[in-house]
């Protein structure tokens, strides 16, 4: 068990699909729901646009967690994108876990445009978990540390 560092601020890259999750995040904002500022959102058209390279890139550059958000299964704006995401990310996350990267650092969540509260909740949970785990030491790139 690692000692919790109170000053540790986990950096989180959150990929949000334009149609559901990004709108869900917008709704979290317009509903004035709080979640940690360490969460930074990148807008993508669909969760299926997330390449494993992007996930690794984030870890390389110092992210402590990566969370991908898409429309609920069945609700993808492009019909099927999130189904591909689900397979790809399940396998990728499983592989990272296999290499000993803590599995709590990666997450895939379905957040609809109506689920502002859920977006905030998921982000709070995710960051809370990262707080417990501490900084990403296993998948960072030494050159990218300050």
């Amino acid at each position: 068990m690692q000692v919790k560092d109170q000053n540790f601020k986990p950096l989180v890259v959150s990929f949000c699909c334009n149609w559901c999750s990004y709108a869900g995040a917008d709704l979290a904002g317009s509903s004035r729901l709080e979640y940690p500022a360490e969460v930074k959102i990148i807008r993508i058209p669909c969760s299926c646009r997330v390449d494993p390279l992007f996930v690794l890139r984030a870890f390389q550059r110092g992210a402590d967690g990566v969370i991908i958000n898409g429309c609920h299964p069945g609700d993808c704006h492009y019909t099927s994108g999130n189904y591909f995401t689900r397979r790809r990310m399940t396998l990728l996350f499983s592989m990272l876990d296999y290499l000993g990267i803590e599995r709590e650092r990666t997450r895939l969540e379905w957040v609809s445009a109506a689920e502002g509260a859920r977006f905030a909740k998921v982000m709070n949970e995710f960051v809370g978990k990262l707080h417990e785990m501490g900084a990403n030491k296993r998948l960072g790139d030494i050159r990218c540390k300050e």
Binding site: L56, L91, Y98, L99, R103
Partner: protein, 320 residues
């Protein structure tokens, strides 16, 4: 085999023959293209012909001629995968399926202290002549890693089969044993294991170059415009990234031919990364063997509405 090759080459039915060529030493064989019936003398097929010829067909297939290729049962899976991805045109091939009793790993001979080999008689028991005297040892002790979990003696694609029943009755080992062992460890142990292995990587790209699924015209890691190009592993991260992405790019396409590990000069068990994906794919989305047929779609190109969510990873392995 040689006779068949001779026949087809001299009749003009094929323009080239893709097979193995003997080298200087008894265990030294390498893939070769024969265009000339005379040269076929150098052709060889023995216990050291482990290499998978299917990938060479991509390059050979570009000529305007038919190619004769000899494939062991396991090689046909790779070929099917290539056919499914339009990397090779079936009509340009004449495929002869040949038997296989499991191929030998010269490294394993060496670790048994057998050096200076001058000749080998292959039977269930191997008789090996060396500069320092003769040795005898059971064949199964020195089989290639990939042969320990043989896919069986059936050819999945061929035009004709020769050398009836040359194949051994294969016994299928548990190919996931090592993967499962790693899965059973703590993340810290797994991390230590893979750090130990991947830190050996010298980025020679042999695994990539030999892999019959790594068939991009230009690899992302070689493409200066891709944003991730890297010729060497400058940091631990790049070691990890290269191997994760390499395995991911062949996930659902890798037939588990084991060439990557066979050719790795550093002895990294690269196939354990591929097998992890194969195990997960088969576990999550139903039993799957890439290259079983040329019509098969990679599980990453399709989906099921009821697919498992990523948290299955945690559910499956408990809270270790």
């Amino acid at each position: 085999m040689r006779q068949k090759a001779h026949e087809l080459l001299s009749s003009g039915a094929v323009g080239a023959v893709l097979a193995w060529e003997k080298g200087e030493l008894p265990y030294d064989t390498s893939p070769a293209v024969f265009r000339d019936a005379e040269a076929l003398d150098k052709m060889v097929y023995n216990g050291f012909c482990g290499s998978n010829l299917s990938k060479y067909l991509i390059e050979q297939g570009k000529q305007d001629e038919k190619v004769l290729v000899f494939l062991k049962p396991c090689d046909t899976y790779s070929l099917n995968q290539l056919l499914s991805e339009n990397r090779v045109a079936r009509e340009k091939l004449h495929i002869i399926g040949i038997g296989c009793k499991g191929k030998l790993d010269v490294e394993k001979l060496r670790t048994q202290g057998i050096k200076g080999i001058t000749g080998i008689e292959e039977n269930e028991t191997l008789k090996i002549q060396t500069l320092y005297g003769d040795h005898e040892l059971p064949r199964e002790d020195v089989l290639l890693e990939k042969c320990l979990s043989c896919k069986g003696k059936d050819h999945k694609v061929y035009d004709e089969l020769i050398g009836e029943d040359l194949s051994a009755d294969t016994e299928q080992g548990d190919k996931y044993a090592k993967v499962a062992e790693l899965e059973g460890q703590t993340p810290a142990e797994r991390f230590a294991f893979w750090r130990g292995e991947l830190s050996k990587c010298i980025r020679c790209n042999a695994c990539r170059n030999t892999c019959p699924s790594c068939t991009c015209l230009k690899c992302v890691f070689d493409n200066a415009h891709s944003g991730v190009a890297a010729k060497v592993n400058a940091t631990e991260f790049e070691e990890n990234m290269f191997h994760i992405i390499r395995a991911f790019h062949v996930a659902g396409r890798c037939s588990d031919c084991g060439e990557c590990s066979r050719v790795c000069p550093q002895g990294i068990p690269i196939h354990l990364l591929n097998r992890k994906f194969i195990k997960d794919i088969s576990g999550f989305y139903g039993e799957f063997q890439a290259g079983e047929t040329a019509e098969l779609n990679s599980p990453l190109l399709c989906y099921d509405l009821e697919d498992a969510e990523p948290n299955i990873i945690s559910k499956r392995e408990g809270d270790n």
